[in-house]
């Protein structure tokens, strides 16, 4: 297991992306009235990928191809590196002693990536999408950080496997519900998914991704789902007890929990409307930020009362 | 890896940053020069901690202080640029001459 994990990670991530795409497609089909065509959804992802692979790339006038390419690439690399600290079972491909900080740093790479993708084609609507994502990222970064750090605080460590160990008895989701909810919301915002996908919204003609075509589009859409998979996978060691659980081995629990979180996020996307940016931003600053701070304070008091404060 | 190599790289970054800060006309570009100078300082401080005094945390604390200084520099810089621009539509250092002696 140990030596194979680094090679296993990309396979699992791609499988996760495929899961998201198929489930997303099936829900969209159901909403559009095609019935429960699971076969249709299964094959469509592959067909769409193949179509994008062979499609000719559109170009725009005076585009900055280098920056656009850098953005698309950075999105994928960041998502893979972010997922690298997630324990698959008990062991992570790279169990850094500052795992949660690393994960957050890699998520932030997505801001630069999406802004670059929006800037690249020299098109006003694309750039609008890029700016929207920067605004969204800035609004949701603080609640996101507080939610992550609350889990680290509960475990007294920044290392993912220590955080998992601290949840042997009680999951953090149970006694830090506000942090868990804030994490799910802000992680969705960081992956510009679901109700937060205004940066690639229809009202700006596809936003940051509007001018992408062919392989670029395939990589960008894949990278966006990779980021979502990574965010869902990190929720498992942070709040859902990692590999802890009865009957099944650890790796199976991690897999099941990750897929459950992913399914929830995909389902929510089809349940909630995309809200306007200014509304979401204010919710973050005025509701989520104080909430996560209070949650962190409560957890800190519990940790102190248990005598876990000083080393 | 040796201390001198780190310090030479840090000195090169600092000098390039200074060159940018001295030559750029645009206030925003001038700030990029300042950032590059601080970048060199971060590297030098980390190298001092690693090679000279790793037992004490003082080197790390200096890095934290430098990074904070960088954030403050940038926030205040952009606030001042915004204020000047709002008042006089100026974004070039050569035109902002209120404090000229």
């Amino acid at each position: 297991m140990t030596s194979a994990t680094p090679f296993l990670l990309p396979v699992l991530l791609v499988a996760g992306v495929w899961f998201v795409a198929v489930l997303d497609g099936a829900l969209a089909d159901r909403a559009a009235g095609y019935g429960s065509g699971a076969r249709r959804a299964l094959s469509r992802t592959g067909r769409e990928a193949a179509r994008l692979l062979v499609a000719q790339r559109r170009t725009t006038l005076a585009a900055d191809g280098l920056l656009r390419w850098a953005g698309v690439l950075a999105l994928i690399v960041a998502a893979v590196l972010a997922a690298g600290v997630v324990p698959l079972g008990w062991e992570a491909p790279a169990d850094l002693s500052v795992g949660v900080v690393w994960f957050n740093a890699m998520e932030v790479v997505a801001w630069a990536a999406v802004w670059l993708v929006g800037w690249g084609p020299n098109s006003a609507l694309s750039l609008t999408g890029g700016y929207r994502f920067v605004a969204q990222g800035l609004s949701y970064e603080l609640p996101h950080m507080f939610a992550i750090i609350t889990a680290a605080l509960g475990a007294g460590s920044l290392r993912m496997s220590d955080i998992v160990d601290a949840q042997a008895d009680v999951w953090f989701a149970v006694w830090m519900p506000a942090a868990f909810a804030a994490y799910l919301l802000s992680a969705t915002a960081m992956a510009f998914w679901g109700p937060f996908d205004a940066p690639v919204g229809r009202d700006v003609a596809g936003g940051a991704a509007g001018e992408l075509s062919g392989v670029d589009r395939l990589l960008f859409e894949g990278g966006r789902r990779l980021l979502l998979v990574a965010a869902a996978a990190v929720a498992v060691p942070l709040f859902l007890g990692g590999g802890h659980g009865p009957w099944l081995p650890a790796w199976a629990w991690v897999l099941v929990k990750t897929l459950a979180v992913l399914a929830l996020l995909v389902w929510v996307r089809h349940r909630l409307p995309v809200l306007r940016m200014d509304r979401w931003s204010e919710v973050s600053w005025i509701v989520l930020l104080p909430l996560t701070m209070l949650q962190a304070l409560a957890v800190a008091l519990v940790v102190l009362a248990r005598g876990g404060g000083g080393q | 890896m040796i201390l001198e190599a780190f310090l030479v790289v840090a000195a090169a970054l600092f000098t390039i940053g200074l060159f940018g800060a001295l030559t750029q006309q645009s206030i925003v570009m001038l700030m990029m020069g300042l950032e590059l100078m601080i970048n060199g300082i971060i590297l030098a401080t980390a190298a001092y901690w690693y090679f000279l005094a790793p037992a004490a945390a003082d080197g790390q604390v200096i890095v934290v202080a430098v990074v904070t200084a960088m954030a403050i520099e940038m926030a205040m810089g952009f606030a001042v640029v915004t204020a000047i621009y709002r008042a006089k539509r100026i974004d070039m250092t050569d035109s902002a001459t209120e404090l000229e002696g």
Binding site: - | L13, T23, A75
Partner: protein, 186 residues
């Protein structure tokens, strides 16, 4: 291996640092600066400072993305589609910088650096946290207060609308007059 990695990162940091002032496009200049920062962060990671390295990566990306927004806002030629010179006093600066670099290098190689004192701690992050919360508590508190006053000062400097614009000359408007609405029903 480490040496090769260090050399590559050092060259990358310096080359992208130079590119910042060479390229025409402001977006490219900003992200060249970001590459320089990331290379320095990677070198900090090489010195075992994992936490500080990760924090520098996190901070610098946010900072440079914000920088890019301001660049596009205030520069007359953000995409570099019209090449123009934005320099002044290049020769004087080159002399100053050349002398400075020569002086610094001379100092670096001539100085009698002391021997390494003590051994590296097992977990530098723990050491940093303990220092900030114990011995260097005052430093941390000063940083906190300074950051807070920076927030206040930047908002005061940068905002174009005060309370009289929002609430009327007598500050008695029931609803503030804001250009954009919010999501929590104000």
């Amino acid at each position: 291996m480490t040496l090769a990695l260090f050399t590559a990162l050092a060259l990358l940091a310096i080359a992208s640092g130079v590119l910042v002032f060479v390229v025409d496009s402001m977006a490219r200049a900003t992200f060249a600066l970001l590459v320089s920062f990331l290379a320095v962060a990677a070198m900090v990671l090489l010195t075992d400072l994992l936490y500080l390295g990760a924090v520098i990566i996190l901070m610098m990306i946010i900072e440079m993305v914000v920088m890019a927004v301001f660049m596009i806002m205030y520069m007359m030629n953000p995409a570099g589609l019209m090449p123009m010179s934005m320099f002044h006093n290049t020769r004087g600066a080159a002399v100053i910088c050349g002398l400075l670099f020569a002086g610094l290098s001379a100092g670096i190689f001539l100085a009698d650096w002391p021997e390494r004192r003590g051994t590296r701690p097992e977990d530098p992050t723990l050491e940093l946290g303990t220092a900030l919360m114990e011995g260097h508590m005052l430093t941390m508190m000063t940083l906190g207060v300074t950051l807070f006053s920076t927030i206040v000062a930047t908002v005061v400097l940068a905002t174009g609308r005060g309370r009289y614009d929002r609430l009327g000359d007598r500050l008695d408007a029931g609803h503030p007059d804001d250009p954009a609405g919010g999501g929590v029903g104000r």
